[in-house]
Subunit: 129 residues, 4 copies
Amino acid sequence: MTTTRCTLTVRYAETDAQGIVHHSNYLVWFEEGRSDFLRQQGVNYTDVEKAGYFIVVVDAQLRYKSPAFYEDRLCIETTLEKFRGKVLEFSYRVLNQDERLLAEGRTVHMVIGKDRRPVSLPEGMLPRT
Amino acid sequence: MTTTRCTLTVRYAETDAQGIVHHSNYLVWFEEGRSDFLRQQGVNYTDVEKAGYFIVVVDAQLRYKSPAFYEDRLCIETTLEKFRGKVLEFSYRVLNQDERLLAEGRTVHMVIGKDRRPVSLPEGMLPRT
Amino acid sequence: MTTTRCTLTVRYAETDAQGIVHHSNYLVWFEEGRSDFLRQQGVNYTDVEKAGYFIVVVDAQLRYKSPAFYEDRLCIETTLEKFRGKVLEFSYRVLNQDERLLAEGRTVHMVIGKDRRPVSLPEGMLPRT
Amino acid sequence: MTTTRCTLTVRYAETDAQGIVHHSNYLVWFEEGRSDFLRQQGVNYTDVEKAGYFIVVVDAQLRYKSPAFYEDRLCIETTLEKFRGKVLEFSYRVLNQDERLLAEGRTVHMVIGKDRRPVSLPEGMLPRT
């Protein structure tokens, strides 16, 4: 199980009228965690799509522990939990600058081809577990 | 268990480079389902916040079945599954114009006061289960 | 000059920490105004893209007059100001339920083909000015 | 006239069905440019708001030159063009990793107090022109 870390600063546009980050942005951040994970593994998702493969989300779970605020400096920890054939599962932890856990989650993904049918990623596009 | 239905048309800005709706938008649509549910129950969430109560998301689960496309005419079905004291639980189903189930999910919410501590909603702001 | 009107309800996710709608959403609403304008003119933008034509934004201007709030019921007025060959220009007015003008703007668009080069829309996909 | 530069990587969620970044995101990036500009000038916008001042957008202009794609590494150049009393004006240039100019723009801002009336920023919260 490999875990990667990337950082991002909370944008004003990500806040809502409660004065905290809107909960939908965590799915965007998880995705950034995955993108960065793949890049760190030498897999460029742009190339994956150019080759005709798409990694689509089939399942997502989020647990919100503590709010994030504008200009918070966040760390997204991304772990590839499972990778078998056509299915990938990632877990995530979002921490702020005080190392407080803000949220954690899990996403399950299917690899599909241009015809939107499940397919296995070819060698060379495989991340290491 | 009350279920309400509201409709919305997929916006171009909600699509992504896969040509389908980005998965984070379903959380936004679930929220619109909740807003509409509360309005149909005679509860105005703007008034709830003005009175110093905030309904925050603590947990979310989403299962993606089939993609949504630009200009799809969606129906969001929202059900209040549980409502005890300070905790609300909603479930959702998103269907397109062909009555195809695109996604389903569940969110759990906590009622908090201005000090961000759990508190019960006063009478008159209570939705019916 | 044809003007069309469509309505939408402000979403919670569209608000920001100032308690008002984030200014970037007006570009999304203008786009919804355009989509609706084209539909009312019998032009389906999904079909336009399927035929290999894309209408891209090259210029946008926005003037913000008064804030929009969660659950505001907005009217988007969309006018096709100019349409010559490969260029379209639209203007917009956003009003709230009290008919207060919240914002107005203008966007200029170019029609391009799959090679991203300017091209004229074929007959049958032309909106009336 | 001070100019600051900050970088960001295009997120998948920022793309749309045309395969390029949705044009509304440039307003979000301009805002990130402003946030970073103020931080580099020693002004923390979170503190500005805590002190009861809000910098609201009253006018925005954008010119789109060339599309941005997922994973593009962008540079946002932000310049404070004018700053007189209650009004600030910024200009922006967005360049990609090949130093290609993707978009440029301008925003005008008003400083308001908690009553939403125009007011001057106090000393110590003033950025240098």
